[in-house]
């Protein structure tokens, strides 16, 4: 990783009453970098995601995004700056067609008599068609409601939408939990293509093979702290499992966490 990071977290702490969900988390995400965020249930991943993507203000710590130090009060604010979380099926309205979803909250309107905003459906449909074609995604009809589309197609819409609207950092929460083998493969390709456009990607997942297939770097959260931050090339699934569960590592020691029990 060279130059300034896209996102830099420094010593993020989060307390919910007496409970310490995060106890000083620091890591960086570069432009065009895919980072897999791993950790057991309750490790603090979700809290971290909410802090990054807006909606939760940490108790302490610093976040630098795109060269400016700040936190986002709401997801809308984060989104305006180019950070977005794609949750499983939570980012689409299945009762509306592809075009409506693609333009959700950003509809092209023309003021009728300079007063009444009117949706420009044809114009929007053209934009969506172009965007999906450029990304190599095929969807039979842009006027079908999303409820009739497959999980893979839905994900493609979400990610293409994100890239189209000038997103800089996308957080994917269990992106392939509901997908088949072939769809997952396409999804992983899609993520690589998205990253190749200079977008930072954070994937939250439980599935080790996927993390290794797509991520440039793996960050493990354990009990509210970073238990490991290693380039994917320099680690192994066994070692990562060790970091997640907190077992002592055999072989190489971890530079990120040198506080093992000293004799």
């Amino acid at each position: 990783m060279t130059g300034s990071a896209l996102l830099e977290l420094a010593d993020i702490r989060m307390n919910f009453g007496a409970i310490e969900a995060l106890r000083g988390v620091s890591f960086r995400v570069g432009r065009g970098e895919v980072v897999a965020l791993l950790g057991d249930n309750g490790a603090g991943k979700s809290t971290l995601v909410k802090i990054i993507s807006g909606g939760l203000k940490p108790s302490a710590g610093r976040m630098v995004f795109d060269g400016a130090e700040r936190f986002f009060a709401t997801p809308a604010e984060a989104k305006a700056q180019g950070i977005e979380t794609v949750y499983q099926d939570l980012s689409l309205c299945t009762n509306v067609d592809v075009v409506g979803n693609f333009f959700m909250g950003r509809e092209i309107v023309k003021k009728w008599m300079g007063l009444i905003p009117v949706l420009q459906e044809k114009e929007m449909e053209k934009v969506v068609a172009d965007a999906l074609r450029n990304a190599g995604t095929r969807i039979p009809s842009l006027r079908t409601n999303v409820e009739h589309l497959s999980g893979g197609q839905r994900q493609a819409i979400e990610l293409n939408r994100f890239a189209h609207w000038g997103g800089k950092l996308v957080l994917l929460d269990e992106p392939f939990a509901a997908l088949g083998v072939e769809q997952t493969r396409r999804g992983l390709d899609l993520i690589k293509r998205i990253a190749a456009q200079g977008i930072g990607v954070i994937i939250i997942t439980h599935i080790m093979t996927q993390a290794f297939q797509v991520a440039d770097r793996i960050v493990v959260i354990r009990q509210g702290q970073v238990a490991g931050d290693v380039p994917t090339r320099e680690t192994s699934p066994d070692q990562v499992v060790g970091m997640i569960t907190g077992e002592a590592f055999h072989g190489r020691t971890q530079e990120a966490r040198p506080n093992g029990p000293n004799p």
């Binding site: 997801p75 809308a76 950003r106 509809e107 009117v118």
Partner: protein, 332 residues
């Protein structure tokens, strides 16, 4: 190819089912009910659809947005009573007059809309600001607003509405009184708002998935608030029209309309799950109900049967809503 065309046809029929039902019912009644097929009857059906129709607009918008508003009937009654008290000259009416006289029309309309909007606003405060369940909040409004109607009227009625108001209940255009045209105009306007403007799109998105809409930067709370206020204001308009039609207001004016409006909304293809439904369909649902009322009257059946049929229709509509999903899956 063939299956996709079949599916397109199936989708079209399912989406416009209520219109097919309306056509079938009208043709059947015309053929089998004596004296049904005349212009006066059809005009009467349109006129009858005015009040429930207008009320159903607000109800439908709130349901499409994924909430519920049971207060529309009482809100309409309150608006009617306020209009009656202010501008009626007999009973409990104060007989207010304005100069020039025609000013009564916009002023009373504005008052009725405001009365409705205030109730809608209160519903919004409890539901959105305080996070209470909309069903309970609006059920409470349904009760207390009706109570308020009885209280301010002392159980008595107002009669003899100002003639400059009554004129739009009497004057006709193409056999149909102006108040019915106002209802149709409301449907045109609100269908446009729901179908072609960002507000309508956003309300539909919220009804489908409020979380996604929120994440997309749509101001969910604000829009829901506006939806409740619109529902209240439109109910106020329904009350105003009702007062004009009956040339006054009684304490029990409009009782039972909520269920008709509800039935029309459901029959019209609005899903109670939210996010699904179109306003023209709701109007077709209202017309369908009015047609059935009229046919029952013409056949000389006791009016009680209307209620039985109405209940069965609502059941059928909800059943259809459930079946639609299965039919869609078969074609998907």
């Amino acid at each position: 190819m063939k299956s996709s065309r079949q599916r397109a046809i199936a989708e079209f029929v399912l989406d416009h089912l209520v219109w097919f039902m309306l056509a079938v019912v009208l043709i059947a009644f015309s053929l089998f009910v004596p004296n049904f097929f005349q212009i006066g009857i059809f005009a009467n059906i349109v006129e009858q659809s005015t009040f429930v129709g207008v009320m159903a607009i607000g109800l439908a918008i709130v349901i499409i947005a994924g909430h519920m508003d049971l207060s529309v009937e009482s809100t309409a009654a309150l608006a009617a009573m306020v209009t009656g008290i202010l501008f009626c000259s007999r009973g409990i009416g104060l007989g207010l007059t304005l100069t020039p006289e025609w000013l009564v029309l916009p002023v009373s309309l504005l008052i009725a809309l405001s009365v409705g909007a205030v109730i809608g606003f209160l519903n919004g405060v409890f539901t959105i600001k305080l996070g209470m369940n909309a069903f309970i909040v609006t059920l409470a409004s349904y009760i207390w607003v009706r109570g308020l109607v009885v209280a301010i009227s002392g159980g008595r009625s107002a009669q003899d509405l100002s003639p400059s108001l009554r004129v739009i209940g009497i004057e006709q255009l193409l056999f149909v009184p102006l108040i019915a045209w106002i209802a149709i105009l409301c449907y045109v306007i609100f269908s446009f708002i729901m179908g072609r403007t960002p507000f309508g799109r956003h309300v539909t998105l919220i009804g489908g998935n409020a979380v996604a809409a929120f994440r997309a930067g749509i101001k969910v709370d604000r829009l829901m608030f506006i939806a409740f206020i619109i529902a209240g204001a439109v109910a106020g308009l329904a009350g105003w029209l009702l007062a004009i039609r009956t040339s006054g207001a009684t304490a029990n004016l409009g009782t039972g309309m909520l269920f008709n409006a509800f039935a029309a909304v459901v029959i019209g293809g609005v899903s109670l799950k939210g996010g699904v439904g179109k306003l023209p369909g709701v109007y077709a649902g209202v017309l369908l109900l009015s047609s059935i009322h009229t046919a029952i009257n013409l056949m000389g059946l006791p009016a009680h049967y209307t209620q039985v049929i109405l209940g069965l229709l609502v059941l059928a509509a909800v059943l259809l809503d459930t079946l639609k999903l299965q039919i869609r899956q078969r074609f998907a």
